[in-house]
């Protein structure tokens, strides 16, 4: 995959920023408006997919290598599990919303409210974006060499 024409490349490099910002917005306001970690994470992933379609696979791989994406994936899942375990340590039970109940109740409908819910949204957004990017990248890297395999069969 070599990528597309200059026009497409220029436009998509601009649009990419917009999509990325929009994804982050969806993630961090997930507890107030529709959206949340999953939708936002997929939007973040699709900004990279757009880059991949426009510039080709190589370009994206240089920016965010496979190994780094895999680490981000693990990190997101791990952070979410850590929030759960912190609930157990600080709040007395698995998944207690300890921030809201004990430390930081916040104003309803403001950005900083709802305790661990925005944090969980961020962790999930990170996890989902990294893992979906990883899937698309893995699927596009895989080039089946069918002819060689058929020869082997015969």
């Amino acid at each position: 995959m070599k990528g597309m024409t200059v026009i497409v490349k220029t436009i998509s490099s601009w649009i990419k920023v917009l999509i990325f910002m929009f994804g982050i917005y969806i993630v961090i306001t997930g507890h107030l408006t529709p959206g949340g970690g999953f939708a936002g994470g997929i939007i973040l992933a699709s900004s990279y997919v757009l880059l991949m379609l426009a510039f080709g696979r190589k370009f994206v791989e240089e920016n965010l290598p496979l190994a780094a994406a895999s680490r981000l994936d693990c990190l997101g899942a791990f952070l979410f599990a850590v929030i759960a375990i912190l609930g157990m340590v600080l709040g007395g039970s698995f998944f207690v919303n300890f921030l809201y109940q004990k430390y930081l109740p916040g104003e309803p409908l403001s950005l900083i409210s709802a305790g661990t819910i925005p944090l969980s949204n961020i962790a999930i957004g990170l996890k989902v974006s990294a893992s979906l990017f990883l899937v698309i990248l893995t699927l596009s890297i895989f080039r089946p060499d069918i002819s060689a395999d058929k020869k082997e069969q015969n």
């Binding site: 895999s70 680490r71 791990f78 599990a81 759960a84 157990m88 709040g91 039970s93 998944f95 207690v96």
Partner: protein
């Protein structure tokens, strides 16, 4: 206080799984060690749950607002079985999985599968049960195709399609239950059903659950995927799949839903009884004709799971009729004890088959022979497991089959007892065949260089073989039986009292 430790059963394997892929190619030894430590920690924790019961409300939300863990006799029994088999299989994989690449990812998927099964067994919420069922299933689909050869991919695809259809049926059942009762907590569903009675919608949901979990358990009309999927997986995974996966995702979930949520009726009891009988007979006949050692064992798994479902179905029929609870509890005891036994000896058999396959490079019985001299430990453990599965007296399989036969005769189901004995004979024949063709007879020319495997593989096999010999004690020694098996039997005998127990605790 056991209750506060319950989240660890899910948290430990999950966190281990999230960390494992971070180890690169160089950290392989550390990753293996970490995974082994995790399974051993789970085993220790599981031993701690013996004889206990608890309800744990996640996030401090009282049910039905939140999700809860329910630990009772049945889940404790299953937790114990899962952790014993996974510890042995993990130990076996240390050396065995050196043949394959991407070992860290293998360990990660293994831990995810364990987490999924523990989650299913502990969950007190029916949608949550579905979510964890999907985790364990997805991990097992990927593990079946781990070798990426023709047969493995074909088997993985077949397994994945049938498994996905099963999962969707379960999900559809969950939605119907929610639409009729307005709650997802198993105890509250049970309460609502007890109040309103079983209407058409709930009946259809029950049918969907039976088909969905039946597909996961590979009971006979739904068994098409098992004889392909189990042999294609790497040997420790075959041991996990046959040993615990079909039991925790299939049999356990089915029994939980039928007995504790919907309440057993005579017709459902008969349905389970017939499904069990069909699986027993069909599995045994199909196994007799096999020449592939792992495929033979896979068919025999269908047949053995049939015993479990038969015992529980027989007990359920008797409970629903209500005239002789003593025989009912004996039948259920036989079924559950057989579940434990089968988990141990079938995983041991698959591990020995993996050992043979690794040494000789083949799975075909016709290409083997005379391995007794070359591989003494594998031979000895395989003989113990074969004697156990065939029901030869001092070994564990004998006791569970004896209990089943006695319960069937006592309850007046003479023909069921006859079928049990007959299938037991077929099992004896098929494992004599394995012994005869694999370990006795002439050693073929090309296998002169064969050596016994070393290290962790042997430890895992010997550990399970010792259990096979000692398991009979579980029913003979009263104190063991009162702590391990009897609470599990009581959960099923109590039936829909489950909801009162959970809400009251």
């Amino acid at each position: 206080m056991i209750g506060s430790r319950l989240p660890l059963f899910v948290a430990i394997p999950l966190v281990t799984a999230f960390v494992l892929p971070l180890f690169g190619r160089k950290g392989k030894a550390a990753a293996t060690l970490l995974a082994n430590l995790a399974t051993i920690a789970l085993l220790v924790l599981a031993i701690g749950t013996i004889g206990q019961s608890a309800v744990y409300e996640i996030g401090n939300w009282s049910i039905p607002l939140g999700i809860n863990f329910v630990l009772d006799g049945l889940s404790s029994l299953l937790l114990l079985v899962i952790s014993v088999v996974s510890a042995a299989a993990m130990l076996f994989s240390v050396r065995y999985m050196e043949q394959y690449t991407a070992k860290a990812k293998y360990l990660c998927l293994f831990m995810l599968m364990v987490a999924g099964m523990n989650g299913v067994v502990l969950s007190g919420d029916i949608f949550n049960l579905f979510v964890f069922l999907e985790i364990a299933s997805l991990a097992s689909y990927a593990l079946v195709g781990f070798g990426c050869e023709h047969e493995e991919l074909e088997a993985a695809f077949k397994y994945m399609v049938l498994g996905s259809i099963g999962s969707i049926f379960v999900l559809f059942g969950v939605t119907l239950v929610y639409g009729n009762t307005g709650t997802l907590n198993m105890a509250y569903i049970s309460k609502a059903i007890a109040e309103s009675g079983l209407n058409a919608g709930l009946g259809f949901a029950l049918a969907l659950f039976i088909v969905g979990f039946g597909l996961k358990a590979a009971l006979v009309p739904f068994h098409a995927w098992l004889p392909d999927a189990h042999p294609s997986a790497p040997a420790p995974i075959s041991a996990m799949l046959s040993g615990v996966l079909i039991k925790s995702l299939g049999a356990y979930a089915l029994v939980r839903v039928v007995f504790n949520i919907f309440g057993i009726t005579v017709s459902i009891g008969w349905l389970l009884l017939v499904l069990g009988l069909l699986s027993m007979v069909a599995g045994a006949f199909l196994a007799l004709g096999q020449w592939d050692i792992k495929r033979l064992m896979a068919y025999s798994s269908i047949s053995q799971l049939g015993y479990v479902v038969l015992g529980i179905g027989l007990g359920g029929t008797l409970i629903a009729k209500g005239d002789n609870p003593a025989w009912a509890s004996l039948a259920i005891l036989g079924g559950l004890f057989h579940l434990v036994n089968h988990a141990v000896y079938k995983s041991l058999l698959f591990l020995t088959s993996g050992s043979v396959q690794m040494a000789t490079g083949t799975r075909q019985l016709k290409e083997m022979g005379g391995l007794a001299g070359k591989m003494p430990v594998t031979r000895a453990t395989c003989t113990v497991a074969s004697a156990s599965i065939a029901g030869i007296p001092p070994f564990s399989g004998f006791w569970s089959k004896l209990i089943l036969v006695v319960a069937a005769i006592g309850a007046g189901f003479y023909w069921v007892a006859a079928v049990i004995v007959f299938v037991s004979l077929c099992t004896l024949i098929m494992y004599l065949k394995v012994q005869r063709y694999a370990f006795l007879g002439e050693l073929p020319e090309n296998l002169q260089q064969v050596r016994e495997n070393k290290g962790s593989m042997l430890i895992a096999m010997i550990f399970l073989a010792c259990l096979c010999v000692l398991m009979g004690l579980l029913v003979i020694v009263p104190s063991l039986r009162a702590n391990i098996l009897d609470p599990a039997v009581k959960v099923l005998m109590d039936g829909v009292l489950y909801s009162a127990n959970v809400i009251g605790m």
